[in-house]
């Protein structure tokens, strides 16, 4: 067997496995099992993206698609566990299921038709992005696309994250507004989790900064680095080395909006200097992008961690 055939077999195996896991997640009887299926699906999908030569997408899928979204769903399934039996006992409404099936089939069919209708080779702007990347001072054309050519998309993604957090916070009970998110965690101060957190935190921070800087020339960047920071913060909270901050703290609000705000400020400055919204004057492109990315990694980290932490559940005085 030559290397091409092995690669093809591997791709087929990943594709079929991903489909099988997707079916498992949809058919699972409990919410918890479905979430486990969803996370496994995310990992498999990351492998598929990697095999397609898109390591940037693979990293994001593994960190945000599988990891962070999976964690959010895991939390949700824990909250819903008490109502699971009642929900399962409800009479099934075949009409609703039929409508859902039709809607899903229409979307999937439309997407499939669109992909199949593409001429071969598919139209692409990739050569343009690769040719234009040196002007931004970035060696990774994906980073150049996200931070320069399509910077508006990236800006809006950051705004969406903040909006999602506003949505989560809006579920707060009135008397707990301004309190601390999540329940109080139990942890043995001499236990393995605390040991693990103490050991991993410094290593993880170095890794997050590494991801940020390596993102200029290789797969990585502020989003992936921010996800690592968020995970570390949550680990410290779970190990009770830190507590979730009360959500009315000034510094917290500041870092939530710092990323999008700096991005917008840079965009407006581009207008003032005549290079257009979110355009960068050429010799300054790399330092400006780096500055935005440094603020962004903190903002993304804080926002993602608070998204997972959920709405406030205890008054702000409720610390240890």
């Amino acid at each position: 067997m030559n290397i091409v055939a092995i690669g093809l077999a591997l791709d087929l195996a990943f594709g079929l496995l991903a489909l099988a896991v997707a079916v498992f997640a949809l058919r699972a009887r409990t919410t918890y099992a479905a979430v486990v299926g969803f996370v496994s699906f995310g990992v498999l999908l990351a492998l598929v993206w990697f095999r397609l030569g898109a390591p940037d997408v693979a990293l994001t899928e593994a960190a945000i698609g599988g990891g962070l979204t999976g964690l959010l769903m895991l939390n949700a399934s824990a909250v819903l566990r008490a109502t699971e039996a009642a929900a399962a006992a409800e009479p099934r409404r075949p009409g609703v299921r039929l409508v859902a099936l039709l809607a899903a089939a229409t979307v999937a069919g439309g997407l499939a038709a669109a992909v199949l209708a593409l001429p071969s080779p598919a139209p692409t702007l990739a050569p343009l992005a690769v040719a234009g990347a040196p002007a931004t001072g970035l060696g990774n054309p994906v980073a150049a696309t996200l931070m320069a050519f399509r910077a508006t998309d990236t800006l809006l993604e950051m705004v969406v994250l903040v909006l999602a957090l506003v949505g989560v916070w809006s579920l707060t009970r009135d008397d707990l507004w301004g309190g601390r998110p999540g329940r109080r965690h139990q942890a043995d101060s001499k236990g393995v989790l605390v040991f693990f957190a103490r050991l991993l935190l410094p290593v993880g921070v170095v890794f997050a900064v590494f991801l940020l800087f390596v993102g200029a020339d290789q797969p990585g960047g502020a989003f992936q680095g921010g996800t690592v920071l968020a995970a570390l913060w949550l680990l410290a909270i779970m190990a009770r080395l830190a507590d979730t901050p009360a959500i009315d703290q000034r510094w917290l609000r500041f870092w939530l909006i710092a990323g999008p705000a700096v991005f917008v400020a840079v965009g407006l400055a581009g207008l003032a200097f005549g290079v257009g919204f979110l355009g960068y004057p050429e010799p300054w492109a790399k330092p400006i992008i780096l500055a935005v990315e440094i603020v962004k990694i903190v903002s993304v980290g804080v926002t993602l961690a608070l998204l997972v932490a959920g709405p406030p559940m205890r008054p702000r005085g409720d610390d240890r």
């Binding site: 393995v192 989790l193 040991f195 693990f196 050991l199 991993l200 290593v203």
Partner: protein, 96 residues
């Protein structure tokens, strides 16, 4: 095949064996603690042997160091998680 390639193939093959064995154990063993026992063999020996097998073919010393770092981090994470899962299983007294 050079001797180095043969050594590498043997090490990676052994690593894959431990992964398969660990997975079979995870699926077949009767309760949480024995399943954890099977799983940690896959994590420790499986990844360790595969990293050892890949080391001779690392492009440079930096890549080799990263491979070893991955191994150490996986060891650390899997041993912590299996401890926590073991504690949780004992606390709930539910040894399914």
């Amino acid at each position: 095949m050079t001797p180095l390639q043969i050594l590498s193939a043997v090490l990676i093959g052994a690593g894959v064996f431990f992964f398969v064995a660990g997975t079979v154990g995870l699926l077949r063993f009767p309760d949480t603690l024995t399943r954890l026992h099977a799983l940690t063999k896959a994590d420790n020996l499986g990844i360790g042997l595969i990293v050892l097998g890949l080391l001779p073919f690392a492009a440079n010393a930096l890549v080799a160091l990263k491979l070893i770092l991955i191994w150490i981090l996986v060891l650390l994470a899997s041993s912590t998680v299996s401890q926590l899962a073991g504690f949780a299983a004992r606390r709930e007294g539910r040894q399914r």
